[in-house]
């Protein structure tokens, strides 16, 4: 039973990561009906920028681990948000009136560009996060020893998701984003600057993805230029699982996929971990293509 609950907490921590990345896919899809295939690489950029900033400022020695992680996360999120907005400006905005497939090709091109740029700057080797920066202690929850970093990761993901949910549901700009996702033409008739909405979505999604990258770096302790590919695919699966275009769906889908994967790896075989995730994708596409919380039929990309 202890193994089950350990895997559950691990699954929730990793699922929080998937959920944060999945939100970027789902928000962009919601407003533009485009899968941003470069999104996984923005996650990678977050992980690398986190490492660079961590090493160059020595924050951990100056202000202590928790405050340092907080400051680091904010810097990473801002920088990745800017890169996201630039990506939209360069790779997608000129194609606003083109057929959708053109934008998909542009997305794949941007992904290759990002991966190679990271490789050129940081080398193709695995880079290692300093392993002694976060306290290694475990917290005892109901008789279960859970590493503190797992708890922090899960709580951070939840807090970011809650903040996003509040922003989307309760604020004027959030309502405008939802309106633009339903009907761009009608949103323009309300006086909403849809270009501005798209840019905002391309800041929020990458900011969350960048934060996820930083967390993965801290959790697993190593980063690689192609890590965004697998995380991107998993998060994309999570977005489909929850219903693409649906924000609570991406949150639920991410957490669920993380737990399924962790339990599958523990009880079936660790070698089958990725296969299990993609079996989930195939199953959901066969049984319920609209996803768990989706209503609209997914459109062809």
């Amino acid at each position: 039973m202890e193994e089950f609950f350990q895997q559950l907490t691990n699954g929730l921590a990793v699922g929080g990561i998937y959920a944060l990345i999945a939100l970027g896919y789902t928000m962009v899809y919601g407003v533009m009906k485009l899968i941003n295939f470069a999104h996984g690489d923005l996650f990678t950029i977050g992980a690398y920028l986190g490492l660079t900033l961590l090493l160059s400022f020595g924050l951990f020695d100056k202000i202590g681990p928790l405050a340092a992680v907080g400051v680091l996360a904010i810097m990473v999120m801002i920088l990745v948000a800017i890169i996201g907005a630039l990506l939209e400006r360069v790779a997608y905005k000129p194609l606003r009136r083109s057929p959708r497939l053109t934008a998909v090709v542009s997305a794949l091109g941007a992904s290759i560009f990002f991966q190679n740029t990271i490789m050129a700057i940081y080398s193709p080797k695995f880079l290692v996060y300093p392993h002694d920066i976060l306290p290694k202690m475990a917290v005892n929850i109901l008789g279960l020893d859970v590493p503190i970093i797992r708890i922090l990761m899960f709580l951070t993901s939840l807090a970011l998701m809650a903040a996003l949910y509040f922003f989307i549901q309760k604020t004027k700009i959030g309502t405008a984003i939802r309106a633009a996702a339903i009907d761009q033409g009608a949103a323009k008739l309300m006086g909403i600057n849809v270009d501005r909405v798209i840019m905002l979505v391309f800041c929020i999604g990458p900011a969350l993805g960048g934060a996820a990258g930083l967390m993965v770096g801290l959790y697993y302790g190593q980063v690689n230029f192609s890590m965004g590919w697998m995380y991107g695919l998993k998060a994309f699966t999570a977005a489909i699982l929850g219903g693409i275009g649906n924000i609570p769906g991406a949150m639920v889908g991410g957490l669920l996929l993380g737990v399924i994967e962790a339990l599958g790896a523990a009880y079936i075989s660790i070698a089958w971990k990725d296969a299990i995730a993609f079996c989930v994708l195939i199953l959901i596409l066969i049984v319920r293509p609209t996803g768990l919380l989706g209503e609209r039929v997914a459109e062809k990309v």
Binding site: K172, T175, R178, I182, A186, K188, L189, G191, I192
Partner: protein, 238 residues
């Protein structure tokens, strides 16, 4: 003069949808645009709202050149539209829809006043303000689309087919409300298939055929015009 369109040309892809049309709207008028499907009525409204690809000519609102502005800037000038097919945001509540209508406004007091006025015009909307707008009936969605367009306190209200798909009794009530809105000082441009009702309501009218304006006259003259009667009012004596 409030709005003046001169030699306006609009393209849909490579096809020209409006061939150099001109029309004028005076302050306080209800002007109706009649014509068959595909004549270019909705295209004209969407060109005013800044949603179309304008290839020639001009649209002036007082001294402002609308044809150079993006759609969201035109709403700020208080020209709003209730579009064809209503296009309410179906997964948002009635109240959220209305508040989006006031997106460009920051004066909370004025927004509250507009909303109170709209709930007075359409009490049904107030009863259903927490409901998702996709669950409303067609008539209620039409009320919401008009109410949403009124939230910005428009000087010009563009109404595209407000009677489409509604029961006759609802059509009458919507048209009565349009008269009331106009009486409060809002200039209205009304696109309608229901030519008779539109001409009874409007001061002046234009008739469009395949991207051209073929007739322009006062509503009373158009009502008694034989060609109009034959083409749009079901013939004389009906």
């Amino acid at each position: 003069m409030l709005l003046r369109i001169e030699d306006l040309r609009v393209n849909y892809g490579n096809v020209e949808a409006l061939h150099s049309i001109s029309l004028e709207v005076n302050d306080g008028e209800i002007v109706t645009i009649l014509g068959a499907n595909g004549a270019g009525k909705s295209t004209t409204l969407n060109a005013i709202s800044g949603l179309m690809n304008i290839t020639g000519g001009s649209i002036f609102f007082q001294d402002t050149a609308l044809h150079k502005l993006p759609a969201h800037e035109i709403v700020k000038l208080k020209i709003t539209q209730s579009p064809e097919g209503r296009r309410v945001f179906t997964t948002l509540t009635v109240e959220e829809n209305l508040m989006l209508g006031a997106f460009t406004s920051t004066n909370t007091k004025r927004i509250a006043n507009s909303r109170a006025w709209i709930y007075e015009l359409f009490p049904r909307l107030e009863e259903r303000r927490k409901q998702l707008s996709g669950t409303l009936s067609g008539g209620e969605q039409q009320m919401l689309a008009i109410g949403r367009a009124l939230m910005a306190n428009p000087k010009i209200l563009l109404l595209d087919e407000p009677s489409l798909g509604l029961a006759p009794i609802l059509v009458k009530s919507i048209f009565d409300t349009v008269r009331e809105i106009n009486a409060s000082g809002v200039t209205v441009i009304l696109v309608e298939q229901n030519a008779k009702a539109a001409l009874k309501l409007a001061h002046r009218g234009y008739v469009m055929e395949v991207g051209n304006i073929v007739l322009a006259d006062s509503a009373t003259n158009l009502l008694s015009n034989e060609e109009v009667q034959k083409a749009y009012l079901g013939g004389k004596g009906h």
